[in-house]
């Protein structure tokens, strides 16, 4: 191994350690790690820029702009109250419908954005019914991570995979992951509803009060809502057709975003750009450069070589290994840097003789996305919801979450193991 490779590994491990400990903001650390790779001459500036995946960044930015403007319309509050009324204000059924709405939202929007939209309305509904909001919040977090698994645009690992591998189109994700994700979602919701059933009781008077709510009044700007719905429809349609139209997913998202800005005018420009999570965008940039150091020095190839050696190049054992390692790792560390490291490694495995990479990609996606449900620090949505809940006096402790979520995550991965095996390996 060359000196350059040893330095690259050193920079990578130090950066990773800082990201895991969360002592300094992950964006600062990832950018510092990426810059170190360039400063130490591991990768040149041009090479570093070449490794930044602008498709991932464009897709994230476009969707963030669309959501920022759509959220102003009150649409998400309308949907939540409408659904709560549809189930006659019954808390147990509300838990189920809010989880399904969260999962559907997360399938098309960023998980963090979805939970940020769902948490306020959850507090509002649970306060009206005088029930504990924690079962609802935990269920929504879990639903959000599962829903995000189901599409190319639902979760950053999938966005990165779709961007890195040409064959993994929006429709490929729908065909391969949506059904299994929603099966896992219903299993998880059923178990959570059973666990929390005794806490989800309220009086008929409070139910009647909820039934009297006028959800239509939650729509604050009907014209803006129409424009947002047009842009959202165009965008989602674009995702379904992007392979056919030979355009990248980032182009679709940015078209939707700027179509919406064109329809709404300058008024929303500043507001929308302020709501783009630039910290996330720069976190990705730092990671892409950081991992490029490992790619350019041949470390990733070595790791791939070792993994193939370990599994004897057998697709079945390699897939199952990737699925479980991804899940366990993602339960404790950020799945974005993990996937950023795994993508070039799996590509190298293809060059080392594994012909069928498809099960490996789906294993990585399912493991990395669903693994985030294992612990409170496993995914950004978990951390955000726990933080918001604690601020409002409803603490979701690491242990409390682990006790419920970790067994559910293991069950989800067992289901995935059976799915991967039966669908791709038999």
């Amino acid at each position: 191994m060359s000196t350059q490779a040893i330095i690259a590994i050193g920079v990578f491990l130090i950066t990773y350690a800082f990201i895991v400990t969360e002592k300094i903001h992950r964006t600062i650390i990832a950018m510092a790690g990426g810059i170190m790779m360039v400063l130490l001459g591991i990768v040149g500036q041009e090479e570093a820029l070449h490794h930044i995946d602008f498709n991932t960044l464009g897709l994230l930015t476009g969707m963030m702009i669309i959501v920022a403007i759509t959220a102003e319309t009150g649409l998400f509050k309308y949907i939540a109250i409408w659904a709560a009324k549809k189930v006659k204000g019954d808390p147990l059924k509300i838990l189920v419908v809010l989880a399904i709405i969260t999962a559907l939202g997360s399938a098309f929007l960023d998980n963090v954005t979805t939970v940020l939209l769902m948490v306020p309305v959850t507090f509002s509904i649970t306060r009206q019914l005088r029930v504990n909001p924690i079962p609802f919040l935990i269920t929504e977090v879990i639903a959000s991570n599962i829903g995000g698994t189901s599409t190319l645009i639902g979760d950053p690992p999938n966005i990165m995979l779709g961007s890195a591998v040409k064959e993994l189109t929006f429709m490929a994700f729908i065909n391969n992951l949506t059904a299994i994700s929603f099966f896992i979602l219903f299993v998880n919701i059923a178990i959570l509803a059973f666990i929390y059933r005794k806490q989800l009781r309220t009086s008929s008077e409070l139910k009647a009060n909820l039934m009297d709510l006028d959800e239509k009044e939650e729509i604050t700007d009907k014209t803006l809502l129409m424009k947002s719905l047009i842009a959202l429809t165009v965008t989602i349609l674009g995702f379904f057709l992007h392979q056919l139209l030979h355009i990248e997913s980032a182009t679709v998202a940015l078209t939707g975003a700027f179509l919406l800005l064109l329809l709404t005018g300058e008024k929303y420009l500043d507001k929308a750009f302020l709501k783009v999570e630039w910290t996330t965008i720069f976190f990705f940039i730092g990671l892409f450069v950081l991992v490029s150091g490992l790619i350019e020095t041949g470390v990733i190839s070595l790791l791939a070589d070792y993994s193939v050696h370990l599994t004897g190049g057998d697709v079945t054992s390699t897939s199952i290994l990737i699925l479980w390692v991804s899940a366990i790792a993602s339960a404790f560390i950020d799945n974005i840097p993990f996937v950023a490291t795994m993508i070039p490694m799996i590509k190298d495995m293809g060059e080392l003789g594994i012909n069928n990479l498809e099960p490996l990609w789906w294993s990585l996606s399912l493991g990395a996305c669903l693994g985030g449900n294992g612990t409170l620090i496993g995914a950004s949505a978990n951390v955000i919801v726990a933080g918001l809940a604690a601020k409002e006096g409803h603490s979701i402790t690491f242990g409390k979450f682990l006790l419920v979520a970790f067994p559910l995550m293991i069950l989800s991965i067992i289901i995935c193991t059976v799915y991967i095996y039966l669908r791709y390996l038999v």
């Binding site: 948490v119 507090f123 306060r127 009206q128 009297d212 709510l213 006028d214 918001l388 601020k391 409002e392």
Partner: protein, 92 residues
Amino acid sequence: MNVEYKYDENLLELKEFVNGDDIEFLITLHDSKLKEKIVKVREFFEENRVLTDIHYYIHPNNRYQVIVRKDYYNEFIIQLFRQQLVKELIWV
């Protein structure tokens, strides 16, 4: 210190009672033009990033139910005053 308030009964009706640890207000607007003002009160609390300071529920016929956390009681009344939904405020 707490605040006491007076409002114009021709414009609205304001009832206040205890709801668990919080205070609940039932506001009925007699004039639809005042809707804009109550929306502004809501927006004020939505911008402060505290999710449980007030819970705001819209019922049909210009009826609003607002559950206010005790530590935000004064602020809520002050915002009603700011929007001229309350016409007199006295610190007691």
